[in-house]
Each structure stands twice: as C-alpha cells, then as structure tokens.
Symmetry: C2
Subunit: 260 residues, 2 copies
C-alpha cells in the first residue's frame, strides 16, 4: 500500500455481498487503501452484540470487485468484524472505518438497534474515526448512486478534520433521486420509538410463537432532528457519542435519599 | 393484583434460571407485583440486539420461587423480552422494569455490549422507569446477598421520585462482603475500552478460527467514574441516556465544508 493513501476499513451489517457495501467500497477505493472485513450473513438488528461464547471464522474471500484490495468474510457481528480486523488482519489502527451503506434507516432511536452503527461505535471506542451510512430503502435493489457524492464529501472531511475522541458520525440518506436531495444537514437524534406489534401464530406442534413487527412513532416536532431532515429531502448527519452518562441528571440523583 | 402495589417487570441477560435474577426477584417481591419475562438461555454480550429475522417463543414456566407471580421464558434477547412483555403479556406499561442482577460488570464502556442494560434501555425507550443491576463477579455461585439492601433502596427511590424521560439507571456492585461496601456513589461512565486479543486455532478440518478475549483498559483517572467507585468499595450508580447525539460537536460539524 502506498504511504500517502489513508487505510480504510470497510464493513457493514447486511453482509459482505450486499449491494450497499459494494457501493461504499467503490467510493472508498477512490479515496484510500481499502480492506473489507464484513459479516458473512445479514446481521441487521444485532445492536452492539459481540461473540463471546462461540468461535469466530474470518476467511479471505475473492469477490468480483476486489482486484487491488483484500476482503475477509467473518462469521461474527459487525462489532466483531471491527475487533478482528484491527487485531488480526490489519495489525494496526486504520485511519478510518466506514460501515454501510445500510439497506434501511438508522436514524433516531434506530441507532441503538443498528449493527451498522455498532461497527462505527466499536471503531470509535478503539480510537478510529468512523462513519456509519444508511439509505432509507430496505430493498436489495436500492439505488445507492445518489448517495455517493455525499459519502465522498463526508469521508474526505473526516479524514481532513478528524473527529473528537468519543464521537462517530451517523449519516442517513433519503430515498430520493440525486436531483431531489437538498444537501447535508447536521442534526440531533429525533426522540422516537417503535410501537411493537407481535404477530402471534401457532406452529404445527401446537406451540405459540411470535413475529416481531412494529410501527415507527416520531414524538419529536423539532426541525433540527434527523427525522425532519430526511422527511424534507436532506441527508442527515448526526454526531454520535458512546459516553451514555446522563450528566444533566447527576445533580438531582445526588439528592436522592439512598442510604435510608 | 392489588391496586396499591407497583407492577414490576423483571428480566436479565443471563437467562431465567440464573441465580442473579432469582436474587433480584426476591427483593422485588417485597416491593411490588412481579412478572418475570427473561431469556431462556444466556444472552451476555448481545448488546441491544433484537430478533427481526426469526420467530420468538415465549412460554409460561413454573419455577420454584413463583408462587404468587408469573414467569415467562423467552427465546429472544433481553430487548425482545421487554418488548414482548409489555405488548403481549402485561398488556400495559409496568411501573418499573429491573434487569439483572448480572453475573459480571456492566460498568464504563461495557454498557454498550450489555444485554442487561439493553433491557433497561429498551424499557426506557418505551417510557418505563428502568434499572440495570450488575455484580462484579462472573461466577454462577456469586454472592448476591450484599447487593440486596442497595437494590431495594435504589428501586424504592425510583418508584418514589421517578426518572426523567430518556434516562435509565446503571448500577454496579463491587465483589465485596456487605460490611466492606461503603455505600452508593453517583458516577459518570469511565472512559475505558477493551484491548482485544484473539486466540487463533485450527479446527480438525484445517480451517482457522478465533476465540475473542481481551484485556480491560481504564483510560480515565477521574475519581468521579464508575470504575473508581467500584475499585474503592462503592456501589456505582450511573444515569444512562439513549439520546446519543454528541451535542457538543454539532457547532463544529456545521462549519465543515460539506458541499464542496
């Protein structure tokens, strides 16, 4: 690898063959030296799971696009991919970790369920600047072309400016043709949640089981949120931290009578 | 159920038969009406995983302690347990959700990998006051007796005072006899990480595989952190939020040249 180019670790949670990571890879190859370490199968909804009670496989694989760079398919979660990449494959910290482009939104509260963002957060914990990218289109045939120029712009800015310790970026793209995207908007995470609905069925042996489904509910009327940005044709850019301390509540908590 | 007593959902990530949840249950039965919905098997390290591509079972079970209350064993993750409990079992929001007592620490950065805390966070997202409890002892024979009076005190305070929207509590206990525990300390999450080590082996078919292990590294010298509290004989109490927005970095991010 040339010394001038940044070393970029590419991962995702939809699996190494997903069209989204292929699109991300194309952009990254224009920017740096690339190594792909990604799950061998879809890991959506895995949150920040890690594999601690099972073995991990991580094999070098050859895919159509990987002339000139290496790819590894890992049996673990997105967070596992980042851990094994830095420790066993790259043997050094990459200059950047990018995750995605996810097939489906990781805006607002979805950040906590997101395998895509868990890879970015894991990289951030290890001191690697990191960005998660997601497109609001679950389809395998989603069109990632309109995302590319924004992926490039954000990535170049991160490489140039760096990110503060403890912060990674969460980027979501609206499902729109290129000419209808209005630009990038720096946002806060919207206050939203899922209203669960369980589809209860009975299996052939007579045992009840459930499918989880749900309805996304945005409780936030702010015009500075990622949900607002996406609904209004912008790319949302949310800085995400993994110090989860609710500092604003510490003083009140100290006034509680806990010793009685 | 009596109308005076609060309805308490009890869950964990070590599985429904773990000694830690049994200890937690004993305390909760002194405080309120209790329903247990917990994983049928250990889920440590599951982070905020949810089951979206597979079916979920959730069966009523009878265990030694459950005269007078109901217990359900769920095939999913801790976050799944909370979702299915509120939606399919309780059919209303409980007054409190407690998770644990975990066999092992969930202090500092471990909060993001923790199934115990993901259950508490999931409850918080759904607007339910929630607390995760963990003991710094991985042993199945861990002694939870010294934890009980603190579990009770913190739980009663949460029921009395409530918690702000968007905040849940992360409580960790040092592995100490009762007389050596110095009390409860309100803390922030320490800045720490894991230095991964992968144990690489070769299976009988000649394919390489890995076991994830690692060394915990505390980078934080502050005396206001959960790690400091635990090392110094205190119970750590960290308020945890799930708005992950790094608000302090938004202004700088807005100055980036993203449209060039």
């Amino acid at each position: 690898m040339s010394k001038e180019k940044p070393l970029i670790l590419v991962t995702n949670d939809d699996g190494i063959t997903a069209p989204g990571i292929r699109a991300l890879l194309q952009v990254m190859k224009e920017i740096g030296d690339v190594v792909v370490v990604a799950p061998d199968s879809p890991q959506s909804g895995m949150g920040h799971a890690i594999t601690i009670s099972d073995t991990l496989f991580c094999d070098s694989v050859t895919l159509k696009e990987n002339y000139n760079h290496k790819e590894y398919s890992c049996s673990g979660t997105p967070a596992d991919c980042v851990k094994i990449a830095t420790q066993e494959i790259l043997h050094r910290k990459p200059d950047l970790c990018v995750s995605g482009i996810n097939h489906g939104s990781n805006s607002s509260i979805n950040v906590i369920y997101s395998g895509t963002m868990s890879a970015a957060v894991e990289a951030g914990v290890e001191g690697i600047p990191a960005i998660g990218f997601s497109l609001l289109d679950y389809s395998l045939n989603a069109d990632f072309e309109p995302c590319k120029k924004y992926v490039k712009a954000i990535t170049k800015n991160v490489l140039k400016n760096g990110l503060p310790n403890g912060v990674v970026l969460n980027v979501n793209f609206p499902k729109l043709p290129a000419e209808e995207i209005k630009g990038i908007k720096v946002c806060r995470q919207a206050n939203a949640h899922w209203e669960e609905e369980f589809d209860k069925r009975t299996n052939p042996q007579g045992r009840d089981y459930y499918w989880l489904s749900g309805r996304f509910v945005n409780n936030d009327e702010g015009q500075d949120t990622d949900e607002w940005a996406l609904e209004n044709g912008f790319v949302s850019l949310v800085p995400v931290q993994f110090d989860l301390t609710a500092h604003h509540f510490m003083k009140e908590l100290n006034d509680w009578k806990l010793d009685e």
